[in-house]
Symmetry: C2
Subunit: 223 residues, 2 copies
DNA sequence: GAACGTCTATGATCTAGATCAGAGAAGCGG
DNA sequence: CCGCTTCTCTGATCTAGATCATAGACGTTC
C-alpha cells in the first residue's frame, strides 16, 4: 500500500464536514493534522481513551466497535475513505465512545480535537454543518437501536443494503465482519446468506458478498 | 389532577436546557408556549409527524416509544416532570423520531420549534447547553444500542437502576411498562422479577417495584 | 356487591438462533 | 510444493426466552 499522493488539505476539501471551510481554515487545520498508518487489526483508539483527535479515513477501512460482556464484538460503524469519525468528543470533550480498529491496512488523518473544537467555536457555518451530520448520526443510532428484535435475516439484509451505499453491489467484507455488524454469529450469518444465495438474491465468495437482487433484499429488510 | 400552580416561566427556570436563559428570553419563550393536557394513553405526537413543538413535561409521565414490525412496542425513554424531549427536531428541522404517549394523565408544555430554534441561533450559551445535553443523549443511545445481546435479567436490572435515578427506590411502573422498556414480554419480566424477589433484591406490588438491594442489582446489571 | 378490566402470576410448549464439532477450500509464506 | 492460517460451510445439539393457556388478585364502575 503506497501513500496516496493527495495532501491532507485535498482530502479535507472533499470530506464532510470540512468541505464547508474556506481555504485558510482548511489549510491551518491540515497543517495541525498528521497521517498515521495502521496495519490490519491495529487499534486506532479504545473506548474510554481521552479523545485527542478527530479521525478521517484517508485509505483503507476502520471499524467502530463495542465489546460486550462475554467478549463478543459488535461493529457499529464501517468507515472508509473520506469518512470522519468521532466528532462527538470534540463537541463534549468526553472520551471516545467506542473502539476503532483498522479492518484492513489503513491510513488515518488525525485532527487534534482542540483544533477542531476551536474551529467549531469560530466558524458558525462549520458548526452548522457539523451539527447537521451529528443529528443524522443520532437518528441513525436511534433507528439502529430499535431494530433489536428484528430477525437475523432482516438485520443482515439491512447491513448489506447500508454497506452497498458505500461499496456498491459487491461488499468486500468477510462473513465474520458481516456477523459482527449484524450482531450475530458467523455460522448463522453463513446459513442465512446461503439461503439468500439459493434464492438468487446474492452471490457470495471468499471475503465478499454481491447483491444481485437489491429489490428483493430491500423487501426482506422491511423497507 | 389539578393544574399545578406554577407558571410555564417558573417551570422553565428549573428545567434543562432553559435554566441557562436570562429572564427576558425565558419570558418570551414562555409566552410563546402552551400547556396541553393528555389523558392516560393519549398520543402527544407520532413518529414522522412534523415537529411543531419541543415538549416539556410539567406533570405526569410521557413515554417515547417505537413500534417495531409485528406491532410490539418498545419504550426508549421515560420523561417526567421537568424533562424536555425532542430537541433534536429543533436542531435539524426533521420530523419527530418516535411516538410520545402519556403513560398517566399528564400536562405537557409545548414550545414552538421555531421559537426554540431562533433562540439557539441567538443565544450561544443556550446553544452550548443544548449541545451538551444532546451529546449526552447520543452517548446514552449508543450505549443502549450495544446492549442488544445482554440477557433479559441484565436489561431489566439496567432499566430499574436507570428508573431509580428518576423515581428513587420505588418505581411506579407496571410490569408491562417495564417489559416494554427492556424489550421483552410481560411474562418473562414477571418471571425474572419473581426470581429477584426471592433473592431479596426487590419487592413487587401491583403497579410498582421497589429496589431493596441496589448493590446486588447493580452487580447483575454488570456495572 | 356484582361485574368487568387490568395487572400479576405460573405452567406447558415451541423456536430462532447460539453453541459445539468437524471439515473442505482458498490464499500465503517459506 | 507443503504447511499454516483464515475463511466458508454443514450438521447436531442446546437454551433463553417467546408464545399460548389459564387463573387468581386487585381496583373501579354501575
Amino acid at each position: 500500500m503506497a501513500d496516496s499522493p493527495r495532501t491532507i488539505e485535498q482530502l479535507l476539501a472533499t470530506s464532510e464536514p470540512f468541505k464547508s471551510l474556506g481555504p485558510a481554515d482548511r489549510r491551518s487545520l491540515a497543517s495541525a493534522s498528521r497521517e498515521t498508518r495502521y496495519a490490519k487489526g491495529e487499534t486506532v483508539f479504545r473506548e474510554g481513551d481521552p479523545a485527542e483527535a478527530v479521525c478521517l479515513v484517508k485509505e483503507g477501512r476502520v471499524h467502530l466497535m463495542k465489546f460486550l460482556e462475554g467478549g463478543q464484538a459488535s461493529t457499529t460503524c464501517v468507515m472508509t475513505g473520506g469518512d470522519t469519525f468521532c466528532c462527538l468528543p470534540a463537541l463534549d470533550r468526553q472520551p471516545y465512545p467506542a473502539d476503532a480498529v483498522a479492518a484492513v491496512d489503513s491510513v488515518v488523518v488525525r485532527i487534534p480535537t482542540s483544533a477542531f473544537h476551536d474551529l467549531l467555536q469560530r466558524n458558525p457555518a462549520f458548526l452548522q454543518r457539523s451539527l447537521c451530520l451529528f443529528c443524522e448520526r443520532l437518528r441513525q443510532v436511534e433507528h439502529r437501536s430499535c431494530r433489536i428484535y428484528d430477525s437475523v435475516e432482516r438485520r443482515l439484509a439491512q447491513s448489506l443494503l447500508t454497506l452497498s451505499k458505500k461499496f456498491g453491489a459487491t461488499i468486500p467484507l468477510t462473513k465474520h465482519e458481516l456477523a459482527e455488524l449484524s450482531n450475530t454469529t458467523v455460522e448463522t450469518t453463513i446459513r442465512v446468506l446461503s439461503q439468500l444465495k439459493k434464492q438468487g438474491i446474492l452471490k457470495s465468495s471468499r471475503g465478499s458478498t454481491t447483491i444481485t437482487k437489491p429489490e428483493q433484499l430491500r423487501h426482506l429488510a422491511g423497507a
